[in-house]
């Protein structure tokens, strides 16, 4: 019989960091017991929905709701004229612009909200919408940002100066009425000089098309104004509930303590649910007007057409190198299509997000980046889809430029990357565009990836395939898609990261219960990331109580500490750090209690897994469970009862996860169909909290990357019609299209993060898209292809083959 528990068994019993703890959320999700906003049903709840513009650009001459008010069940129709006296017909965006809540005289994109019909149920609201008569006068439509910058057609007349000029915007001077901002980083003159004098320069236009995260659950909310006590409760699909509370308070004038924002379970966010939408404002107003709870839930078309899209970046690049392939300079000019309003959710000082991470994993001594934001007749948004802050665009740009440079140099693209990587000993590395990379070991990761896929053999097979193709023995080509990405996540240090003046710290508050269990509340909100699982693991390791005894609670602003929410892979780098720091405060008090109980000095006890032991006498100890009980129930001189802690964490730097991905793809030249034979993904996200959740995050992100690279897009025709607003046209991969993924890792901890973790939620999307796209390009490299824009659907791949003359 075993009489003593070993140390390993004690570690295992905690379920702390590094173990593959099963997701505690899944019991309810897999049994249909999740609690989403549309599950909420309140007494007397009404339903609101929008009359939306069928035009992409038109004057709204009149809105006649008289027939709609006759429809049984319709109680109210709100228009801009109704909101104007409240000052709510426009609202601020998170990017320093303003946007219409309801069409104020004109509409700027198809699907824009024109009137809000409030009815007893969704069906009556739909009937009411049909009966609202809106008179439009069509205006010329601009869907091309380059054309918009040349056009006489002014999209935002509200921004014209009194003299008809173009006053400065939130981010400085504007050079055309349809221009939003110019943002620059790096040294322009030095970069142009390097490029002018270089041995080799590769130049290319790289387009990252407009797409959409398409979360399975669309956006929605329920607003309930209690007129007796003056309190507003707002349930919704909010990725940043506290920020929503503050914004609602600022624009409605309701004091912040009288607003309670609750994010229940969220069915995927991916940045689509960060922004503030007209649906929220109208629901709140409708609840105030009717005195009843009002629900608004988007349908799929509403979601794809109007709420936050992703990308739409035209990136003109030049990359210079020596004959041997050593990169000497990088130049990029981006034309950014922001749609009708600038409603990105970037930190204030970064109107193009962290696009200046576009030097990637490479030691590029000189670089320059300029971004011009442009208004067009498309939906607003822009920071979404597991990309946030334009990191995906930056990674795609540099990973395409590297491939183009390899063609220019006649070099192997893997070798070109290898000789230009930042070396392990160069960290912390100061990039030419202004970032300090915290840690990395790119050569080790790359070497591991090349060995794992058998890179040299793959290239030999590819060469044979090209020979066979030319000899008429096969009609299939082989593409080897390479990518080494460096991300920048964990926004961010308050000194340079804020949104609308709200600092981007995050928070954790822990309360230990007397019997040795705990609840921790955070300023973040899970949308599928498994926070209840992983944050409990961090705490288990930090405070020595089992993860299974720790409840994680998020999303209720009345109980959770203030935080900026979950997006941009910031939860682990920021709230995860706050959790560890709060745990350490608990441990510090526990140490004093343990020392008192063991009758030794504080410095004579040390923490060991789940207990404090007397140094040199491990048989003398107090478990954290015992300490928890004593903290409440034993009078300890000089110490208050209780065991609680709170930490607000302002990160000293961003974190820089990285990875090496390889995609091996077969392409049928005659049909344009592709088959992914192998996908290898090595991720280095620093310290790994739960390897199983990381693997799940990587699988999900890669599948979204596959979607984006191989078919998904928000496409507009010349009239501004959204051509892909239903799942019939918008590609959402299923198990049929999804390949097998091989995941791998290296571990390079972040030196400035309390537990060394870096965040992983977005890495697979950032790195996956270039890997898939490079595979398509690489398959045709031998036949002269340099650049072909995504998405690489069957038709577009067929067209590449056709234009290269491969159809005979």
């Amino acid at each position: 019989m075993k009489d003593e528990v070993t140390r390993e068994e004690r570690v295992d019993a905690l379920g702390g960091m590094g173990c593959k703890r099963k997701r505690v959320e899944d019991a309810r999700f897999t049994q249909g017991k999740g609690n989403y906003v549309d599950d909420l049903k309140l007494d007397g709840m009404l339903f609101g929905d929008f009359v939306r513009s069928p035009y992409a650009h038109a004057r709204v001459k009149s809105v006649d709701s008289s027939a709609a008010m006759e429809v049984p069940g319709v109680l109210a129709v709100l228009t801009a004229a109704d909101l104007e006296p409240l000052g709510l017909h426009w609202m601020p965006t998170l990017a320093g612009d303003k946007m219409m809540v309801l069409a104020d005289g004109k509409v700027l994109y198809q699907g824009q909200e024109v009137a809000f019909v409030v009815a007893t149920d969704r069906y009556a609201a739909a009937d009411g919408i049909e009966s609202v008569e809106v008179e439009y006068e069509e205006l010329p439509v601009l869907v091309d940002p380059f054309e918009a910058l040349q056009s006489d057609v002014v999209l935002r007349e509200d921004l014209l100066g009194a003299d008809g000029g173009t006053p400065d915007g939130a981010h400085g001077p504007r050079n055309h009425p349809n221009h939003i901002f110019t943002w620059e980083a790096g040294d322009k003159d030095a970069t142009e000089q390097v490029i002018g004098a270089a041995d080799v320069v590769a130049e290319e236009m790289v387009y990252y098309h407009r797409t959409h995260p398409c979360p399975l659950e669309t956006c929605g909310c329920v607003a309930s104004m209690d007129k007796v006590n003056g309190k507003l409760t707002l349930w919704g699909t909010f990725q940043a509930p506290h920020a929503i509370r503050t914004v609602v308070s600022l624009i409605s004038g309701i004091e912040e303590h009288n607003i309670r924002v609750i994010s229940p379970d969220i069915g995927g966010g991916f940045g689509n649910k960060v922004g503030a939408y007209p649906g929220y404002v109208c629901s709140v107003v409708a609840s105030i007007v009717t005195g009843k709870p009002v629900k608004w839930i988007e349908d799929r078309m509403d979601n794809l057409m109007t709420t936050a899209f992703a990308r739409d970046y035209w990136m003109q690049g030049k990359i210079a190198a020596t004959k041997e392939g050593k990169i000497t300079g990088l130049w990029c000019h981006t034309t950014a299509d922001h749609g009708g309003f600038d409603a990105c959710a970037d930190p204030t000082k970064f109107p193009a997000g962290f696009m200046n991470i576009c030097t990637g994993s490479y030691d590029i001594p000189t670089a320059y980046l300029a971004v011009d934001g442009v208004y067009t007749n498309k939906a607003p948004g822009g920071v979404a889809y597991r990309c946030s802050f334009r990191v995906t665009e930056a990674a795609y740009f540099i990973e395409r430029m590297i491939e183009v440079l390899a063609i220019e140099l006649g070099m192997d693209a893997a070798e070109l990357r290898r000789i230009n990587f930042i070396k392990a000993e160069q960290f912390p590395y100061q990039s030419a565009l202004g970032w300090e990379y915290d840690s990395g070991d790119y050569h080790t990761a790359w070497g591991k990836a090349m060995a794992a896929v058998g890179y040299d053999d793959l290239r030999a097979e590819q060469a044979q395939r090209v020979a066979d193709f030319k000899a008429g023995k096969t009609r299939k080509l082989l593409g080897i898609g390479l990518c080494h990405f460096t991300e920048i996540v964990g926004a961010g240090p308050v000194k340079n990261c804020d949104i609308l003046g709200l600092g981007m710290f995050d928070s954790c508050e822990i309360r230990i219960h007397p019997t040795g269990s705990a609840i921790a509340r955070l300023g973040t909100i899970s949308q599928g990331q498994g926070h209840a699982t992983t944050f409990a693991q961090i705490l288990a390791t930090e405070i020595g109580l089992p993860a299974d005894s720790i409840t994680i609670e998020e999303g209720d602003t009345d109980t959770a500490p203030y935080g900026l929410g979950t997006y941009g892979s910031r939860s682990t780098p920021v709230a995860g750090a706050a959790t560890a720091m709060a745990g350490r405060k608990i441990r510090a008090k526990a140490q004093m209690i343990a020392a008192y109980l063991l009758e030794v000095h504080d410095g004579d006890v040390e923490f060991d897994v789940d207990r404090f032991v007397v140094k040199g006498a491990p048989e003398r100890f107090k478990t954290m469970k015992e300490i928890a009980f004593a903290s409440y129930n034993q009078a300890i001189p000089g110490l208050e009862p209780g065991l609680e802690a709170v930490s607000y964490y302002d990160p000293p730097n961003m974190t820089y996860p990285f990875g090496a991905y390889v995609c091996v793809m077969e392409i049928d030249v005659d049909t344009g169909e592709h088959e992914i034979r192998q996908f290898y993904a090595l991720d280095d996200c620093g310290t790994r909290i739960n390897p199983m959740i990381i693997e799940g995050q990587v699988h999900g992100g890669l599948t979204e990357a596959l979607a984006i690279a191989m078919g998904q897009e928000i496409a507009y025709d010349e009239m501004g019609n959204v051509k892909t607003a239903t799942l019939m046209d918008f590609f959402l991969p299923t198990a049929v299209e999804t390949p097998h993924y091989t995941t791998d890792h290296t571990v390079t901890p972040s030196p400035h993060h309390p537990i060394g973790a870096k965040g992983v939620g977005e890495s697979p999307n950032v790195g996956g898209v270039p890997a898939f796209s490079n595979a398509v390009h690489d398959a045709f490299r031998a036949f002269g292809l340099r650049q072909s824009h995504m998405p690489h659907d069957h038709w577009r791949i067929w067209k590449i083959a056709n234009e290269l003359g491969l159809h005979g």
Binding site: V51, R52, P54, Y55, A56, Q110, I129, E130, E133, V134, Y136, M301, D717, M719, G720, N721, V722, K723, A725, T726
Partner: protein, 150 residues
């Protein structure tokens, strides 16, 4: 979207031309036409119920005729609005040629479609338009035949 076709109608050219400018006949022949009001020789107003795939809506619109080339040709332009369902605008050139007692009618039509109609019905629009045109001319031929018999 573009449509072209050629139809032979069993009636003399003058009769065909006159019928094509007769609101009553047009209303009978245009599928789903609930109302057709002639404001002048060149201005018409119409209400038409149209169904394309999942979208069904009542369109109200205006049509302007250009009869400058009578009786060999005429052209029309128009636009219609179906509220939440979308909108359309376009035009057609029609040419008539006598072929004995019969008339050969050639037309080319162009249309731009917006709103839900364009989004949900885009795959179906070409087919639907062809079907509607065929229906129109089938009815038109019937009316002309009836006129001839009468």
């Amino acid at each position: 979207m573009e449509l072209n076709d050629e139809i032979v109608i069993d009636a003399p050219q003058d009769a065909v031309y006159a019928a094509l400018n007769d609101p009553e006949i047009l209303q009978q022949c245009i599928p789903g036409c609930e109302e057709l009001i002639k404001h002048s020789d060149t201005e018409l107003e119409a209400k038409v119920v149209l169904k394309v795939g999942p979208v069904k809506a009542r369109f109200s619109g205006n049509v302007t005729l250009d009869t400058g080339g009578a009786p060999d040709q005429f052209s029309l332009t128009g636009q219609g609005n179906g509220g939440a369902a979308g909108h359309a605008k376009g035009g057609a050139d029609v040419k008539l040629a006598a072929d004995g007692a019969q008339t050969t009618l050639r037309y080319t039509a162009k249309a731009e479609i917006g709103g839900k109609l364009a989004q949900l019905g885009s795959r179906l629009i070409q087919g639907t338009a062809k079907k509607l045109a065929a229906k129109f001319f089938a009815s038109f031929a019937e009316v002309m035949a009836a006129q001839k018999a009468g």
